[in-house]
Amino acid sequence: MTTERPRYAEEASYKIHGGCGLMGICDESGKLMSGEDAILAMAVQHDRGNGLGGGFAGYGIYPEFPDHFAFHMMYHDIQAKEEVEALFDQYFLVDLAEPMPTRPVKGITDAPLLWRYFLNPYPSKLEESELSAEDYVVKAVMNINSSVDGAFVASSGKNMGVFKGVGYPEEIGHYFRLEEYEGNTWTGHNRFPTNTPGWWGGAHPFALLDWTIVHNGEISSYGINSRYLEQFGYKCTLGTDTEVAAYLFDLLLRRHKLPMELACKALASPLWDEIDRMPEAEQAVMRSLRSVYGPGMLNGPFAIVLGFNGGMVALNDRIKLRPLVAARKGSILMVASEESAIRAVIAEPDSVWMPKAGEPTIARVKGMDWPIHGDLHLDPSEISCAVTGTERSCDTVEVTA
């Protein structure tokens, strides 16, 4: 276990300029879709990436293990695997450990060892830790990513998983046999690495618990965001800016219990002069939000799709510096970087539109617990009500969790 070996380093430290492509699809009726549509949507956006990263997240894909945390692992070598499995044995009850099902695909080379584990915290250890099961898992993820050399957690949520690597997304999707999975929500990404290396762990989606992020753009506030997150125990170790967005949503939504719309406003804050023009109650909320979450605000161009058990949310930076198109067909909401990706999957959408910068486009799976504290709309009085609990229209806010 202690043999000397060179520290794992990511390949390709060069820089290429380009875009990225993304997609998200959610059937709000809860109907399951195979991963095939997600692959097709990304294949149409092939030229938005350059083969240095592709990936998908699927939700509802492990109905046989709905209450286990599913860990998708990437190991640089067998030693990394042994070290992580020793940690798992110590802290978790592992009910199934198996290699990820893959098939050989031309173009996919140098894959790390890919394993998945269905596990739960060891009850006595969990009690001893005085943490919630989720915080316990987060701690383990941070620990593995930061201290086990050559081991990376691709995802760690319940009934979901991230499938990603170096290659074009359609190759990666085929490699991971995504047509064999069925989910109510899928997100996908095509990477064109700009500032950080193209490597397996650096492909999107980035995930923590069941939160996943696909991102087109660059988060110029990465430095301040990562320092802010460190104060809450998150460790940014994956060498890519997008990582902070996944952890910020975990912090704001799960730990601070902000309603989804407010969390989005904290990350893509309205400009100060926009706030000046808002009704008074909303101004107060937005000012507080910007003051409290200043270091969490995402600066720079982005289009992101956040996936989670219960739906997905697409969001642009506040001045719309990256493309995003949305469409609806019956109970299906779909978003992508290009309209053509949507039309490849949904031949005749009921409506196609461009979401407004900084305003979330939200899909919720019917009947599933909304994992977020509150469920509210952007009516100013309702926002301030949810935050301050003082406004008259409090009764109209439907809090579902």
Binding site: G173, H174, K320, E339, V352, A357
Partner: protein, 273 residues
């Protein structure tokens, strides 16, 4: 769309020459699943062989259609969703899209006409130097950014729906018109913020009004007067004819005019005058 799953990787587009049917100088090209490179090669070679009317069927997201094509009397009809950078650097042809267009239509376009019978995306008419772009529906962010004009090369763009932020940003020349009529965003404002921010040439006409906070500090807003309307009317008449709209209805509401205060707003910043 090819959707082969079992033996091979799903491809969005396949790199093969499209099926071309020629009838005199009219050519029909089936673009379904054809990679943009092969599609554009087919368009160019057909034009070189004397084709005057090219009909592209089943287009979905192929980039660069009409890009760099230099020909006055050629008409290209696009059926489907036109991909990014439609008609970039185009010099002469008329392109009509029966569907929506994505981002970057008319990027640095020189001459010709683009008629879109749907919505269009962001950075529409980026650095456009001449020709006309007529969009029926809504348009995205940064529309008409840095349009420019020189002598008789004056680009004109008319958008029938609503527009988002940075409409006419850094505009240096030409004419940009917003009607706000054919929109799916009934509840939203006519146009977003930063209208004409950094504008130092050309003119913007808007059917309706804007608040002063919506405009960049470089522009002045006035009601369009008789001379302005005389300039605008023939353009709107042409637009209405292309889009099948009623000119009288378009003219039934007053227009405002946005002009920059200075053609050289930053002249004093770097060199003393």
């Amino acid at each position: 769309m090819p959707r082969e799953m079992a033996p091979g990787v799903t491809e969005g587009y396949i790199k093969v020459a499209p099926k071309v049917t020629r009838d005199g100088d009219k050519v029909t090209i089936d673009s379904a699943g054809v990679y943009y490179k092969q599609l554009n090669e087919a368009i160019r070679s057909q034009i070189a062989d004397g084709a005057k009317h090219i009909v592209l069927e089943n287009v979905n997201g192929q980039r660069y259609i009409g890009t760099g094509v230099k020909a006055k009397d050629v008409k290209i009809n696009v059926h489907g969703t036109a991909g990014n950078d439609l008609t970039m650097f185009m010099d002469g042809p008329t392109v009509e899209v029966f569907g929506a267009a994505q981002d970057g239509v008319g990027n640095t376009m020189n001459a010709g006409k683009v008629i879109i019978h749907g919505d269009a995306g962001d950075v529409l008419g980026y650095g456009m130097r001449g020709g006309k772009v007529y969009v029926k529906g809504d348009v995205g962010y940064r529309v008409g950014i840095h349009m420019k004009a020189y002598e008789n090369l004056v680009p004109i763009m008319v958008c029938g729906g609503k527009a988002r932020d940075f409409f006419g940003e850094y505009m240096a020349g030409g004419m940009l018109v917003l009607l706000g009529m054919n929109t799916q965003f009934a509840e939203q404002p006519l146009v977003g913020s930063f209208v004409g921010a950094g504008m130092h040439g050309g003119v913007i006409y808007i059917r309706g009004t804007v608040e002063s906070w919506q405009c960049g500090k470089e522009v002045g807003v006035t009601e369009a007067d008789e001379a302005d309307m005389a300039e605008l009317k023939p353009i709107l008449a042409d637009y209405c004819e292309c889009q099948g709209m009623d000119l009288a209805e378009v003219l039934s509401e007053p227009f405002i005019k946005l002009k920059p205060f200075s053609h050289r707003p930053y002249g004093k910043m770097y060199a003393p005058m």
